[in-house]
């Protein structure tokens, strides 16, 4: 599904990571995995350092920290925020939603919309589209988009197929109405027939938490998981990233009438370094156009990974000028969401761990 919106701009971006630094090799050695095996995987897909949250820190806390830093840097009156959209798969509670909780913490006016979007790795693009809709057609002036997860805690610690992948982070992006005629182009897609490829089976209404959902299951590679953990069928997910994601990027390029050569950066969800490089190759971008450093420094940050790339890899350029960006988020659903347009100049807050060590 393609769409295009104008009369909005991204004004500022901030991101807070978890405060615990984890090393893939050191963690693996501590679990008794041979160094040669760890190095092979590390070199192939870029597993290195990730930042995870302390046990008492949630996506809400990380996004609150990012939001406060963003609002402080802009010196904005919080009452001027008309809506909060919170994208997460790891909310504090089943009810109420994170957006309402953050509304209360930030002390926003009662005259505010606040709602969650239950999306993972494609979620920042969904949130951007929603915020843009509210500004461009809904008469709102200013929308705070928060996107983040603590996926590192959803996996079983003995599931080597996915446990080492995830970092925890919360992002805040401020979107405002603007008179500019610049257009952002979007392309969305879903494959619900493959919804089991990334799933936490138990804990919702369909399969409540029971003693059975806690039973440990071992696969043929020796990985252990339970029905309460995030499970991923790597081959099926990889399949989808090879087939559907490049198609979505090609489609949004056509939709925006952009040539690959005129795009400053292809900003991809940082699933892992190998997948990012492969999608870049398949869509005809040269490696310099495709930032891929985020996964090695922070891990797979779910819906926070695209704003992380914008700050980490493009932050300096974005503070100074408009940057022509094509991007794509892809993951749980299965779902994919691509965008193309100019971003900047933007106020960029530095990436910081939360809580800060004294």
């Amino acid at each position: 599904m393609k769409t295009a919106l104008k009369n909005f701009k991204i004004r500022a971006i901030a991101l807070s990571t978890g405060s615990v630094t984890r090393s893939y090799i050191e963690d693996g050695l501590a679990q008794g995995i041979p160094q040669i095996k760890l190095e092979r995987i590390s070199q192939t897909i870029g597993l290195n350092i990730r930042k995870t949250a302390l046990n008492n820190i949630t996506a809400l806390d990380l996004c609150e920290d990012a939001s406060r830093r963003l609002l402080r840097q802009l010196d904005l009156d919080v009452s001027s925020v008309d809506a909060i959209i919170f994208v997460t798969q790891t909310p504090d509670y089943a009810q109420p939603n994170n957006a309402s909780l953050l509304h209360g913490r930030l002390g926003l006016s009662q005259d505010t919309m606040a709602y969650d979007i239950s999306m993972g790795c494609s979620g920042w693009v969904y949130g951007l589209h929603q915020a843009a809709l509210l500004c461009a057609h809904g008469g709102l002036g200013r929308v705070l988009l928060c996107a983040g997860d603590t996926l590192s805690r959803t996996t079983h610690k003995l599931d080597q197929s996915i446990n080492p992948l995830f970092g925890d982070a919360g992002s805040a992006t401020l979107i405002e109405r603007s008179g500019a005629e610049d257009t952002m182009y979007f392309m969305f897609g879903t494959d619900g027939s493959m919804s089991s490829a990334i799933k936490v089976p138990a804990g919702g209404s369909r399969e409540p938490l029971t003693s059975k959902s806690k039973e440990e299951l071992k696969d043929k590679f020796g990985n252990i998981t339970t029905q309460e953990n995030l499970q991923m069928n790597g081959a099926d997910v990889f399949n989808f990233t090879l087939r559907d994601v490049p198609q979505a990027i090609q489609a949004v390029l056509t939709h925006a009438n952009y040539k690959v050569s005129e795009v400053d950066a292809l900003v991809l969800h940082q699933a892992n370094k190998y997948i990012v490089q492969l999608i870049g190759q398949k869509t005809g971008f040269n490696p310099q156009q495709v930032p891929n450093a985020v996964f090695e420094k922070f891990g797979n940050q779910s819906s926070a990974s695209i704003p992380c790339v914008l700050i980490d890899s493009l932050g300096e350029a974005l503070t100074k000028k408009a940057v022509k960006v094509v991007g794509c988020g892809f993951g749980v659903g299965l779902s994919w969401a691509a965008f193309a347009g100019e971003i900047g100049p933007v106020t960029v807050c530095p990436i910081q761990p939360y809580p800060q060590t004294p």
């Binding site: 590679f221 790597g234 081959a235 990889f238 399949n239």
Partner: protein, 73 residues
Amino acid sequence: MKQTDLLIALQSDVDCFSGATIDTPLESLPRWDSLSILLVISHIEANYKIILSGQQIRECRTVRDLLNLIPTL
């Protein structure tokens, strides 16, 4: 293309097949793991323009079964 040629091409991209023959059971390869499955999908897609499903690969018992999924034979 002969199966031995397909195997040589596969060996150049996916390290777990070094020393393997057509009849080697996949489960006996020390590095046959989820990463190797991704590398196989990637190799076959890049060279033969078909994307194998996880299910197709999971049903393979030997290297021969895997090579039989490549339709150029």
